[in-house]
């Protein structure tokens, strides 16, 4: 498989960087496959909606953005990543293993006594995990503290944090956001997973957080919006976030819960499930076809998991962007970040 050959933190162009983007897409398929295997073989319920929805963001971070050394996880100059939505741990584990932070054999003991892979991130047990999280609303503030330390030391490294939109119901998120704005934490870049749902269901009309971008801007942040499944768009918005100086930046990443696994995308209840043998086979078939699509592609857009031509089922034929737009009435798609 092709290795990283582009300089880190550069914008990806769908034509120029076609091979590189295809490589990222293949990694995303591998990560999804690993998540499915993790849940199936451990016989543990996983929240596949949240896990599948964040794959591209974390894959991009670990394969094109973060300056980290899997062979030396404690390298002092590394970029830091904090998974504030700690329930996404299995996705992060899959990416960390794919990146070489630990051996895949550890998945055999996933969430079992003595395992390095706990239910939620544990910085003392898992190589590559920077902060212990799992109680929502804390990771962002921890990332803020790291960014403050980096700012005081004028450090060359940066702090990245993935926050959930449901997590934005926590008051501590806004407390941290306000402080980060006041402290002008320019070393901090946050990705906000905007999938429109919290655990119990859609947020609209219940525990809504809109207008989300305006709120963060009002708190002193530079805000951008991206398609959270499009490596090129994500990289372009992250690159703009990188250029921000003297204030924290945030990319609202519009995503689809369950992305890449049609029956999970359309699951009527919260997809916190134990996969049946049939569902397991379906997941693997879908991912297998997605991989074939990517390999034969020439166009890296849209994402292979939403192949436009010969999708595995009528549901998954919905092109990515159209599907997202339909689900996200408030999203302006290519809208520019106003705070940058």
């Amino acid at each position: 498989m092709e290795r990283n050959v582009l300089p880190l933190k550069t914008e990806l162009n769908p034509e120029r960087d076609q091979a590189f983007v295809r490589d990222l897409m293949l990694k995303a398929v591998a990560v999804r496959r690993q998540i499915v295997e993790m849940g199936h073989h451990s016989r543990i319920r996983l929240h596949y909606g949240a896990l599948m929805g964040m794959v591209e963001m974390v894959t991009l971070l670990y394969f094109h953005w973060l300056d980290v050394r899997p062979e030396d996880p404690a390298w002092p100059e590394r970029d830091r990543f904090v998974l504030s939505k700690g329930h996404g741990a299995p996705s992060l584990y899959a990416v960390l293993a794919e990146r070489g932070f630990f051996d895949r054999r550890h998945f055999d003991r996933f969430r079992r006594l003595g395992s390095i892979l706990q239910g939620h991130p544990d910085r003392l047990k898992t190589p590559g995990i920077e902060a212990s999280s799992g109680s929502l609303g804390q990771g962002l503030a921890v990332a803020c503290g790291m960014a403050l330390g980096a700012q005081l030391d004028d450090a060359p490294w940066r702090v990245y944090c993935l926050v959930g939109d449901g997590e934005c119901n926590e008051g501590s998120i806004w407390e941290a956001g306000l402080i980060a704005g006041n402290l002008r934490l320019g070393h901090l870049r946050v990705l906000l997973d905007r999938n429109l749902k919290s655990s119990y269901g859609p947020m609209a009309g219940r525990n809504d957080v809109e207008p989300l971008a305006d709120k963060w801007r009002a708190f002193g942040w530079a805000v951008f919006e991206a398609d959270g499944h499009d490596f090129c768009d994500l990289s372009q918005k992250l690159a703009r976030a990188e250029a921000v100086e003297g204030q924290p930046s945030l990319v609202i990443c519009h995503t689809l819960k369950g992305k890449g696994i049609p029956f999970v995308e359309h699951y009527p209840a919260k997809p916190n499930i134990l996969l049946t043998e049939e569902q397991y086979r379906e997941c693997l078939d879908v991912l297998c076809r997605a991989e074939e699509e990517v390999r034969k592609g020439p166009s890296p857009r849209p994402s292979p998991c939403e192949g436009e031509g010969e999708g595995p089922s009528p549901r998954s034929r919905t092109p990515l962007r159209r599907g997202l737009r339909a689900a996200l009435p408030c999203w302006e798609g290519e809208g520019e970040g106003r705070g940058g």
Binding site: R80, D122, R123, L124, E130, A131, S132, S133, G134, S135, Q138, A141, V142, A143, C144, G145, M146, A147, L148, G149, A150, L152, D153, A155, G171, S172, E175, A176, L178, I179, N182, L183
Partner: protein, 313 residues
């Protein structure tokens, strides 16, 4: 006994000392640098003191982030908020993560008497003792406080330092060294042991003199490390006397009384123990000393407890 001193002022001076000695040291506040006497640190170590504003629940998490990138943050606010407001943050982001955060709970116990029960910190030790790996300290005097701050700076792990507003004389002579996890006998006696934390040793010594007049031998023990408290540290005092009494400016549930009772129950069950402190009630407003006496820490309460234990009441 020496000159009467403000323990918080001693903390303030020590924080500046360790800040000047070690560039990793930082101070975080939540809009109370005046009450917590951290202002001198802001002047001595500019750039390393951050006031987050009225944001107590962000103190542990911001401090954890700083600690994870190599800083040694001491965060300061009233104990009732330092621990109570942000317990979940302390539990996960500090204790579970073993972040090198120093939590300083100011004006603990009934210190903020007139402010009333919203500001009385009477559960903080119970909560902090319940967390695996948390070190819980409460100094007996200014010198012990100063040495604790130096110890905290060099210790790699989470610590809770509990400070009250009490003004106390020095009990520790020059050359004395603080040892984390050790108890300290302040007075010998063979009938009853009074275990105290914080400034309550002053009262214990006073009562001991009074009881000595009745022919009762009172041993006074300062327990400044509330966790970890090795059983042997209590057992050796327990076995030297017939019975024991704990005295604390905290609920008797979960604090010093519980810590000592746990050792008595497991290791010296033949010895009787009484616990003096606030007894499972929400308090009311009044003067600090008035409240202490009202809620079970009057000299008379100690005398009564000892008489009861010795069957001589």
């Amino acid at each position: 006994m020496g000159e009467v001193k403000d323990v918080t002022a001693a903390y303030s001076e020590a924080l500046v000392e360790v800040g000047l000695a070690d560039p990793r040291v930082m101070a975080l506040d939540a809009d109370l640098p005046d009450s917590c006497m951290t202002e001198p640190f802001y002047r001595a170590c500019p750039g390393r003191a951050i006031d987050l504003g009225v944001a107590e629940q962000s103190l542990p998490t911001f401090a954890a982030g700083l600690a994870l990138v190599g800083k040694v943050p001491f965060y300061n606010t009233f104990a009732v908020f330092a621990v109570g407001r942000s317990f979940d943050m302390i539990r996960l982001s500090v204790a579970y993560a073993r972040a090198n955060v120093k939590i300083v709970g100011h004006a603990a116990g009934l210190s903020l008497g007139y402010a009333g029960p919203s500001h009385h910190a009477l559960e903080d030790v119970a909560m902090m003792r319940a967390l695996p790996g948390m070190v819980v300290l409460q100094p007996a005097d200014a010198e012990e406080c100063r040495q604790m701050v130096w110890w905290m700076k060099d210790y790699a792990g989470p610590v809770y330092l509990r400070l009250t507003r009490a003004r106390v004389p020095d009990v520790h002579a020059a050359g004395w060294r603080f040892e984390m996890g050790r108890t300290e006998q302040l007075r010998e006696g063979c009938d009853v042991t009074l275990y105290t934390t914080g400034d309550l040793w002053v009262q214990a010594l006073r009562v001991a003199e009074r009881l000595a007049g009745e022919g009762i031998g009172v041993q006074v023990v300062n327990v400044s490390t509330l966790k970890p408290l090795p059983p042997g540290e209590i057992v050796r005092h327990a076995q030297a006397t017939r019975c024991g009494t704990t005295m604390e400016d905290h609920h008797v549930v979960g604090g010093l009384g519980s810590a000592v009772a746990e050792v008595y129950a497991e290791f010296v069950p033949e010895r009787a123990l009484r616990r003096l402190g606030i007894r499972d009630t929400f308090t009311e407003s009044d003067d600090y000393d008035v409240l202490r006496a009202h809620y079970g820490l009057a000299d008379e309460d100690v005398v009564t407890a000892v008489h009861s234990l010795l069957g001589s009441s």
